[in-house]
Amino acid sequence: MQFQPIYEDGELLLPLIELDLAAAPSTGIITDLKRKQLLMSQLENAEHYYVFRAGQNEYMRLTVEELITFLIRVTEKKEHAASLIGYFGLQEESRVRIMHLSASKRMYVTLLRVFFAHQRALVLEEPYFYLEEQERRQFKRILDDLSQHKQILILTSNLEDAMISCDVIYRLNGSGCHPLDIRDSEEDKQEMQKQDEANITLQKVSTKRQDKVILFDPPEIDFIESVEGSILVHVGGEHYDCALTLTQLEQRLLNFGFFRCHRSYIVNLQKIREIITWTKNSYSLRLNTGQDAVVPLSRSRLQELKVLLKL
C-alpha cells in the first residue's frame, strides 16, 4: 500500500508512505483528522480496499436479523444468518430495529459491514471510538479473526484505540510517519539499578507548566506517560511536563507504590480500579480518577503486577 505525498502551502502534509500490510496482521496509523481524510481520499477508487468511514450509518428501520440477512445475500456469502448472529453475539438484539439499539450497539452493528467485505484489505477509520467496552471486546475478537486472512489498517487519533488490536503502529504527524515501539524491551529491566533504600528523603516530583515549577506528592499522581520523548505527569485529569526520564521516575517512585506497567507508562497502583482484558494477551488498566483514564498494560508485566497486588 502506497500513499502519495501531499503538499499544502509549500508544507509537506503527508509524506510518501509505503506500508507493507502483509508484514503484520493489523496495522495502525495514529494521526489527526485532516491527515486521516487525506489518507482515505487516496484509497477512494481502489477496488482492493474496503474503506469504513467514521460517518457510516445503517439502515435504521431494519432489524438486526434482517440487516445480517441482507448483507449475506448482497455479498453472496455462504453463511447462515442465525449462526452469524451467534458469532457476533447479537442473539438478544436480533429482532430489535437498529434505530432502537443503544448508540454503542448500533455502531457495532454498523461496523459489522467490514466482516462482509470481499476485498483483501480493510481500512477502518476510528472503529473503537463510539464503542463501549463490551462491544469493543466483541469487535476486537471479530477483527482478530478477520486478520487471519485479511490485512487490516486502522486509522485513529487515539493511541489507546490503536493499541487494542494493532500489531504495528505508526504515528503520522508534521514530522513524518514513524513506527511506534510498543514491544516490551527486555533490556530495560537489566538497566534498572537497585533502589537505594537507605536514602529516604523528600521525593517530590517537580514538573513545569507555563514556566512555573509545580511539585507533586507521589500519592497525588495518577500515572505518568511518555509521549514522543516528553514525560507527562497526569494529576487529576491535568497533565504536566516533567524533566526526568521514565526510568529515573520509576526508581524514585518505586517505594510509593508505583509500577512500570508499560514501556511508556508508570501507574500509581493505589489508583487502579480494574484490569481490562481485551484478549488473552492484551490488557489495560482503568484508574479510579475523576476522568475515565485507561492505561495500557504490557503482557510481560502482568505477572509482576499480579504479584504486587497479591492476586
Partner: protein
C-alpha cells in the same frame, strides 16, 4: 455489467421493509387513491381529470418514492458501502426501481378502478402507464442523485411536478404563445391525449403517436439516469 437476480431481490426486500416502515414516505401510497375518490364525483365527463389523476400520481408516488429511496441511502452513506460490495450499479438501481414499479402499478390499478376510467384500448392504456412509470422512476433517480438528504429529495421533485404536471395545462396556452407548443410533446401531455381518446372514432395512428413519444422520453431519461448515477457515484 453483470446483474444478479439474488442481489436485486435482496435489495428489493430490504427497500420494501425500509419504505413500508417509514410512514412519512409510505403515506404517499394513499394519495393517488384519495385523488381518485375525489375526482370520481366529477366523473369521466370532466376533461383532463383522468390525465391529471395519473400524471400527479406518477410524480407524487413514483418519482417521490424513487428519489427518497436513493437520497436516504446517500444520506446515511450506505450507498457508498453498497458500492464496495459485489452488488453492481445495475443491481442497486434495478432493485429499487422494481420496488417502485410494483408499488406504483398496484396503486394506479386501484385508483383507476376507483375512478372508473374505461380505456378504449386496454393494450394501449397499459403500455402507456407502464412506460410512464419507468419514465418517472428515471426522473426520480435523477432527483435523488442531486439531493444529499431525504429533505432535499422531497423538495427536488417540485421541479419535476411543475414541468411534467404543468405541461398539459401549459399546452392550452399554445394558441396565444406559440412557444408553448413544445409542451405538447411532453410525455404528460401525450398521456393526456392518449387518455382522452374516446368512442369508436379513432385510428391506430391516434394511439401509436402518443405511445411512441412517451417511449422516446422513457428511453432517453432512463439512459440519462443510469449514466448520471454511475458518474455521480464515482465523483463522491
Amino acid at each position: 455489467m453483470s446483474i444478479s437476480y439474488k442481489r436485486v431481490r435482496a435489495i428489493f426486500v430490504k427497500d420494501y421493509k425500509e419504505f413500508s416502515r417509514n410512514y412519512a414516505l409510505s403515506i404517499m401510497l394513499i394519495f393517488p387513491i384519495i385523488l381518485a375518490l375525489l375526482f370520481r364525483r366529477a366523473g369521466t365527463t370532466l376533461p383532463g381529470a383522468s390525465g391529471f389523476l395519473f400524471n400527479s400520481s406518477f410524480v407524487l408516488l413514483t418519482c417521490f418514492a424513487q428519489a427518497c429511496l436513493i437520497a436516504e441511502e446517500k444520506e446515511r452513506s450506505t450507498l457508498r458501502s453498497l458500492m464496495m460490495t459485489p452488488a453492481t450499479t445495475m443491481d442497486v438501481l434495478l432493485g429499487k426501481s422494481s420496488l417502485v414499479f410494483v408499488m406504483s402499478a398496484v396503486v394506479i390499478a386501484i385508483s383507476s378502478l376507483l375512478f372508473g376510467y374505461e380505456p378504449v384500448n386496454v393494450g394501449a392504456f397499459v403500455t402507456g402507464i407502464v412506460l410512464s412509470i419507468i419514465l418517472y422512476t428515471a426522473a426520480g433517480t435523477i432527483c435523488g442523485l442531486f439531493s444529499k438528504t431525504l429533505l432535499e429529495a422531497s423538495l427536488s421533485i417540485l421541479p419535476v411536478a411543475f414541468i411534467f404536471m404543468g405541461a398539459p395545462w401549459g399546452a392550452v396556452l399554445a394558441k396565444d404563445y406559440p412557444v408553448f407548443q413544445v409542451l405538447d410533446y411532453m410525455p404528460s401531455s401525450q398521456l393526456v391525449h392518449l387518455l382522452s381518446i374516446s368512442g369508436t372514432g379513432y385510428t391506430t395512428a391516434d394511439l401509436t403517436q402518443p405511445l411512441l413519444i412517451i417511449l422516446a422520453w422513457t428511453v432517453g431519461l432512463t439512459i440519462v439516469s443510469v449514466v448520471l448515477y454511475q458518474k455521480r457515484l464515482k465523483d463522491e
